[in-house]
């Protein structure tokens, strides 16, 4: 397994995966920087109105929609880039004619996808802390909340990510998986808005912030552990299904 991971690592060199890794942190942090400086008064007023426990919590609340929409899109693109490296190289036939097990081939792609997203989230987390420090938030850094918000997203999107990887690996023309990914992301937004359908796993990324706006104001998201537990299991199940299909299928 180590061998194939190291081989796949080299394939990512000079690819556009780095852009995708940086995309979400840069976009959202830039937006928040502008928001907290140019519209500082409005932000302060709203934070007060929503009874935000701290500016950190307001920051998390404020970026949750952008993050919940943007991150699945980033996962879609990252999965597409990683799979497309093989499609473009016409590499499947060579890779699968080597003495490596097909499940390891698939898992290696999944691991690098997860790794890229993990790096992206870590940059986002560090970026948020730096942003708060730069804006001189009074309260101390709520590391648990921030880290939970960032890394929780990885688990909340796990089924989606596993599905997108399978699509991108199976279908050569990447326009199709990317379109599906975009549609699913938007669908998640609509599903989350309705009380009945917000329990549908596709709606979790939008709702997976550690803080949410309730009647009493901004508070902790008590549903989050349930979302994460469900999507962790669903994600693993979808990953296994992807592996099984990939191992069995004919390879052109």
């Amino acid at each position: 397994m180590k061998e194939i991971l190291r081989a796949d690592q080299l394939k990512l060199k000079r690819s556009s995966i780095l852009i995708i890794v940086l995309l979400i942190p840069i976009l959202i942090l830039t937006y928040e920087l502008v928001n907290f400086t140019y519209r500082a008064e409005l932000v302060d007023k709203q934070a007060e109105l929503f009874h935000a426990g701290s500016m950190w919590m307001y920051l998390l609340y404020d970026n949750s929609l952008l993050f919940g929409l943007g991150f699945p899109l980033a996962a879609t693109l990252a999965a597409s880039i990683i799979a497309n490296i093989e499609h473009q190289a016409d590499g499947w036939k060579q890779l699968l004619a080597f003495p490596v097990s097909r499940s390891k081939v698939y898992l290696s792609k999944f691991i690098w996808l997860t790794m890229s997203l993990l790096i992206s989230l870590t940059i986002f987390l560090i970026g948020m802390i730096l942003l708060g420090k730069a804006l001189e938030f009074e309260e101390s850094v709520p590391l648990g909340l921030l880290a939970g918000d960032s890394y929780g997203m990885l688990i909340a999107t796990l089924p989606f990510t596993a599905f997108q990887l399978w699509l991108s690996m199976t279908i050569k023309n990447q326009a199709f998986p990317i379109l599906i990914g975009a549609i699913c992301t938007i669908m998640g937004l609509f599903l989350a808005a309705v009380q009945m359908t917000r329990w549908f796993p596709l709606a979790y990324p939008i709702q997976s912030s550690t803080v949410i706006l309730q009647y009493e104001g901004i508070g902790y998201n008590t549903d989050l552990p349930v979302y994460l537990a469900i999507n962790l299991m669903l994600g693993i199940a979808l990953l296994c299904m992807g592996v099984i299909h990939f191992v069995k299928r004919d390879n052109q």
């Binding site: 061998e3 060199k13 000079r14 190289a89 060579q94 004619a97 080597f98 003495p99 490596v100 004919d250």
Partner: protein, 303 residues
Amino acid sequence: MDDQIVVTNDLTKKYKKHTSVEGLNLRIERGQIYGFLGPNGAGKTTTIRMLLGLIQPTKGRIELFGKSLKENRLSILERIGSLVESPTYYGNLTGRENLEVVRRLRSLPEQRVDEVLSIVRLTKAAHRLTKEYSLGMKQRLGIATALLSRPDLLILDEPTNGLDPSGIQEIRELIKGLPQSGMSVLVSSHLLSEIDQMATQVGVIHNGKMIFQDSIEQLRQRHKPLLKVGVSDVMEAKAILQGKGITTGGEKEFLWFDRTEPAFVSEINSILVQSGLSVYRLEEVKRSLEDIFLELTSAEGSL
């Protein structure tokens, strides 16, 4: 037993209704260069994909190195190097990095990369991105990749496709030298001339069926030119020649002989003329691959 490198029995691949490969019995022995010949769409690539375990046969058995492919896929692939159709190349990587990917995957020694680069003469271009490579260079990189693990069996699917004559010549010489190191080679092509110049054994596939499998000499026999003779009375000419112990195939209008050397041609001519027949044509007819296919397929039809 140990010398049978590739054995397939009744190998068949069906795509929905269409049968791409049907009842193939392939035999390749150690040290052979096996030329796998057939027109486009004959089923060469499909066969090769099955040999590499990339696609599952609909029917039939594959044994490589005396072991069943189904049960021993990984240990068999350990001993094979392959290039299927167009070569694989990661355009964002240099030639050397492309080989490094495979070296890492297969845990091969580092100096092996330099060795194969020099075998295919890509040492100078090793540090350029492969998306800038010419088709010939990509093809050579593909062969280098196939050679990287010092395979016992090398499978090359149309390795000279799209190359210029000097590139073809180069790859041909490279392949011819491989059995010296104990390697067996399966090389496919749709050009008879190409197989003729490097193979020791030939398998001819047509519409998914093997219609000929033997040594290259046997195929050359069939490839030899024929002598076509136009004569006023074909029946009488046949009888006269029969009397002289010369057998001939004949249609309505012409006599056919499978010898074309000058002495033989003039002998036929003088026999016929002296017998009072008029000879109005003496022609050497070269047979193309298509003709041989036609002959082989019609022979198969008559069995």
